[in-house]
Symmetry: C2
């Protein structure tokens, strides 16, 4: 699918700060992703080295110029840098400057395909945590058939405590209700068996906390296969299991799509068959296309942040910018703050 | 694919004890799975209620009778029973009796689709651990394209220590070499980033142990997506992450295959296309067919044990019996014992 410019449902203009230097294919793919979706309702701040960004922009439709603006940052945080240290010392890095655009009110959200740990650190430092929450979690919206599945945490916290899993469940439920319009979203806890006695100590205790919660529509444990089977609206896990699962799912899907394509090249009749199937498979491919759902929301900080894969293509960056704009229009962060404050007042 | 009777490469007769009462579709599917592969080179002991097994056997080709034998056991361990307690109290359960057939030398291996925890407990109790090993691990052979990937632990230990991961790596390497003929198998440690500094404390320490090992061909960390990408021969993880990953992978594959089938029904031309592609897709489907690779080897005990999914079909049971026979012919357990003893002598 070609990216089309973003169109607001509300006529508002959203401003997103994009870390133009973050990602394996930055700045070219990142800048071209921005150029493909920038529009009267979505202005994009391209943060990074001006000359490099200009060079990338020269490849884009000049019409996008009206909707993008370069914000200069002289440093870049690499993938191999220690996150917290990098964020503290490189105050003029594209990532930190982009976060500052949000914390200082010049942008409604930030998008980055850079070092995930550094994005988390920069967001925690610049945007701060939502009051009453211990840990932010990375929340992905999986393109599962029939309806999307919300999956949290896909990599913010490799080690968590049971309370953190409860927080993830709460945040993702609010997200499901307020951004995706899911009524009374059901929440499953990822484990190695459906029975409540299955799992490690972390899961057993988190299960107890979730079952006791009056806020959650808790389904109980779900297993690995249930993630893609629409068993629940929200699947909760730690950032280690979530990260492994997300990458595995993406890899398995794209591998199988490749295999189907290969099968369709193997003989003349298969080739004709492939051509005849192409249109219908296109519909299907779109429903599992990970490039269409390439950003994960960092929930739990007081500002909108969307984290992309390091290897994001322009199309992925474009989708991430769009989902950031959508969440901004739907006032995701203030709704999260209000709902969490209300939950805590009720306790 | 239809199951064909097992054929030995060596003319030996292998005897496998099958827990006929274990599994969601036991005894029918289990017994019929046995009937489909029993042969002059593979004798199967059907362990459980004689009358129920007879009733299931009545649906099979009477020719199989010569290669199966009923071993009576009066009890059954259910999926919701506490494993260790069930194994200790139900000494005449089909599972425990089947394990005893192995420990007392009447069978070369045991296969069960029952309660996984109970299978582990029964194997530990009856077959005992291999000397010098702390924890057995469940080892699956994934049907990845180009060549199989060995994945350990897929569910025996939901909580592990770094040393256990090292043991899993050693056992799976020996398995790869001695059973699958992989030369100097490369081993990857599953984590959330390739760099050695990525992961939780368990992974960081296990990484160090594996890197120091003179026995392993250690590749370093691998990520979720690498499991299916032939990046390494062996992928090592804890039983929680491994179990979630295995189930997710199976579910994602079968979901996509379903979607392709649906796409091929959506219009007349797509239907023709689907028919033309069918043969080639069949080849592909076989390469990812989880029913063909439905058993996981329990490595680390002094007897051959293959664990199947609870929901195993007759085809899955048939494959599991075949892989058990294959491992028995290749003397998997004695090779593991010898190699581990040699490793320990060298240390």
């Amino acid at each position: 699918m070609e990216m089309t410019p973003y169109k607001s449902k509300t006529n508002a203009q959203t401003v997103i700060a994009l870390d133009a230097m973050g990602g394996d294919f930055a700045p070219d793919e990142v800048v071209l992703g921005a150029a493909s979706v920038a529009s009267p309702s979505l202005k994009i701040l391209l943060v990074g080295h001006a000359a490099e960004i200009e060079r990338s922009l020269a490849q884009a439709d000049p019409g996008c110029r009206r909707y993008v603006e370069i914000v200069v940052a002289s440093e870049v945080i690499g993938f191999d840098e220690e996150p917290t240290k990098a964020v503290r010392t490189k105050k003029d890095s594209s990532l930190v400057v982009a976060c500052r655009e949000v914390s200082e009110g010049r942008a409604d959200g930030v998008v980055s395909a850079g070092n995930t740990g550094a994005i988390l650190a920069a967001a925690m430092l610049n945007l701060k945590r939502i009051r009453g929450l211990k840990r932010p979690g990375l929340c992905a919206v999986l393109p599962t058939p029939n309806k999307p599945t919300i999956f949290i945490d896909v990599g913010a916290n490799s080690t968590v405590r049971p309370l953190h899993l409860l927080e993830f469940a709460n945040m993702a439920s609010i997200f499901a209700q307020d951004v995706l319009d899911v009524r009374d979203p059901s929440v499953g806890l990822l484990s190695i068996g459906e029975e409540s006695i299955k799992g490690d100590e972390l899961v057993l205790e988190a299960h107890r906390l979730m079952a006791e919660s009056s806020f959650l529509n808790f389904y109980g444990n779900v297993e690995g296969g249930d993630i893609v089977r629409n068993v629940v609206d929200v699947v909760v896990t730690d950032g280690f299991t979530g990260n492994v699962s997300l990458k595995l799912m993406e890899s398995t899907s794209s591998l199988i799509v490749e295999q189907v394509k290969k099968a369709a090249m193997r003989s003349f009749s298969a080739r004709i068959g492939g051509l005849l199937l192409k249109k219908e498979l296109g519909v299907f491919k779109k429903s599992i296309d990970t490039e269409e759902f390439s950003g994960a929301y960092l929930l739990g900080v007081r500002g909108l942040a969307v984290v992309c894969h390091g290897n994001s293509s322009r199309k992925s960056i474009g989708s991430a910018l769009k989902i950031a704009a959508l969440a901004s229009e739907q006032r995701l962060i203030s709704k999260l703050e209000e709902r969490i404050a209300a939950m805590q007042a009720a306790e």
